[in-house]
Amino acid sequence: MSDEPNADVKVEQPASITESLFEAPPMAEQERMVEAILFATTEPQTKVQIENRVPHGADVAEALVHVRKRYEGRGVNLVKIGDGWAFRTAPDLGFLMQKEQVEVRKLSRAAIETLAIIAYHQPVTRAEIEEIRGVSVSSGTVDMLMELDWIKLGRRRMTPGRPVTFIVTQTFLDHFGLENARDLPGVKELRDAGLLDNRPPPGAALLEPLDEDGEDNQEDMFG
């Protein structure tokens, strides 16, 4: 393999590589070799280690200088680590080496309620959602559910104003492990299964929805 001159280099360099067994390849070729070795090796390589790999007579020190220069200011730099040399991503580009990690968050109460209404009542208009929740639906909530690809627009309702309706998506069904939105249990079943809290005490009724609704309203106003 070593006696096969590389097609790319061929033009510039005559067959001098093969001419003499012990003649060092031209510096450009030595540079390529150092480059390839430092790329492929699993540890930083010392000058001696590189010398042991390249053909006899090569001037590794000089080749290293050339390679280092060539990569100056590039996205990858040749750096010296102890006695060894290695390629490293340019320090200013470290932010590119980030990988996304998913942080799971719970949906806000407004979002889960809106989603529940859409799931149970689809196709349902915004006005109907607001009627059920008793507060206006912030567009942020709807946008977020849309962005999660859990709801989408259904057909327009054939009533005055032809309002759009919302329906749940296949992604929603997949996420919640449902085959069909109709598979959701009804309120009576929920109560029978003990999933429903008993009625809250009369006094709490007025307070509880208030603060939450206040928030919701504001969001809509400024959103």
Partner: protein
């Protein structure tokens, strides 16, 4: 196919001499073949012609001779070799007998052509396989980065909810119906944010000096405590909005002290 009569006698001669010797030689190594097609391909090569010009008739005879020899030598041949022999015998008769127009199915020539195609294709695939394996290979001739750099972790938020969350949310809504939900029945005693904003904006021009928030309440909203509360809250919220927009300044000297506003100097 090139099975014209003259060519045929030629190939027949050829077959009787060299190919027979060749086929006998192959008998020693019957295990080495990967099935009848492989064997046929090897036999075809003994014709020493381009596979596209091969005489399928000669090939059929070679193969049948091979099977005969094997029987004589009591070499046990796998079933597929015998199936191929039967098929080639049938093909041979088709090729030799004049075509019977009443007969159904493909003609001998069509069958022969397909066999020739199969052999050519198998040979082509073998050549291609060899060329493929002769290519430069990863980890032998060229290499990946030896020290891949670790990628650090960036957080991405994903929202999660279970069916239970969904059902409980819905249940909560449904049970809310049975006790007092929030209804704005007395809207006339509520000053909305929008109303307060409109009012604040119109009055702002006059607030060159610090003025109490209470001075910005609309007329008729200061006496009734409920209305005053609502108006104060809305006016305050509207003020904050205007402060945020950079058109108003706000201060309060101490807790519960009056909240004061003035227009922001530009």
């Amino acid at each position: 196919m090139s099975d014209d009569p003259s060519a045929q006698t030629q190939t027949d001669d050829f077959e009787t001499t060299e190919a027979r010797i060749a086929s006998e030689a192959f008998l020693i190594d019957v295990e080495g073949y990967e099935g009848p097609l492989d064997l046929l391909l090897t036999l075809a090569r003994t014709q020493k012609v381009d596979l596209r010009k091969i005489s399928v008739l000669a090939l059929a005879k070679q193969y049948l001779a091979f099977v005969e020899e094997a029987k004589k030598l009591r070499i046990e041949l796998a079933a597929d070799y015998l199936v191929m022999a039967a098929w080639l015998a049938f093909l041979k008769s088709r090729l030799l007998l004049p075509a019977d127009p009443t007969e159904e199915g493909p003609s001998g020539e069509e069958l022969a052509a397909h066999l020739a195609f199969q052999l050519e294709r198998l040979e082509a695939m073998r050549r291609s396989a060899a060329r493929l394996m002769a290519r430069d290979q990863l980890g032998r001739d060229f290499f990946v980065r030896g020290i891949p750099e670790d990628v650090s972790v960036k957080k991405k938020i994903e929202y999660k909810a279970s069916v239970l969350d969904l059902m409980q949310a819905y249940a909560r809504l449904k049970t809310k119906d049975s006790f007092a939900p929030l209804h704005f029945n007395d809207r006339d005693r509520v000053l909305t944010m929008e109303q307060a904003l409109v009012r604040m904006k119109s009055l702002m021009g006059h607030a060159m000096d610090w003025a109490d928030l209470s001075q910005f309440l609309p007329e008729g909203w200061t006496d009734d405590p409920k209305k005053r509360r609502s108006a104060t809250a809305s006016a305050f919220a509207a003020s904050l909005e205007l402060v945020k927009a950079g058109v108003l300044e706000i201060r309060q000297t101490e807790t519960f002290a009056p909240i004061q506003l003035r227009k922001r100097e530009v």
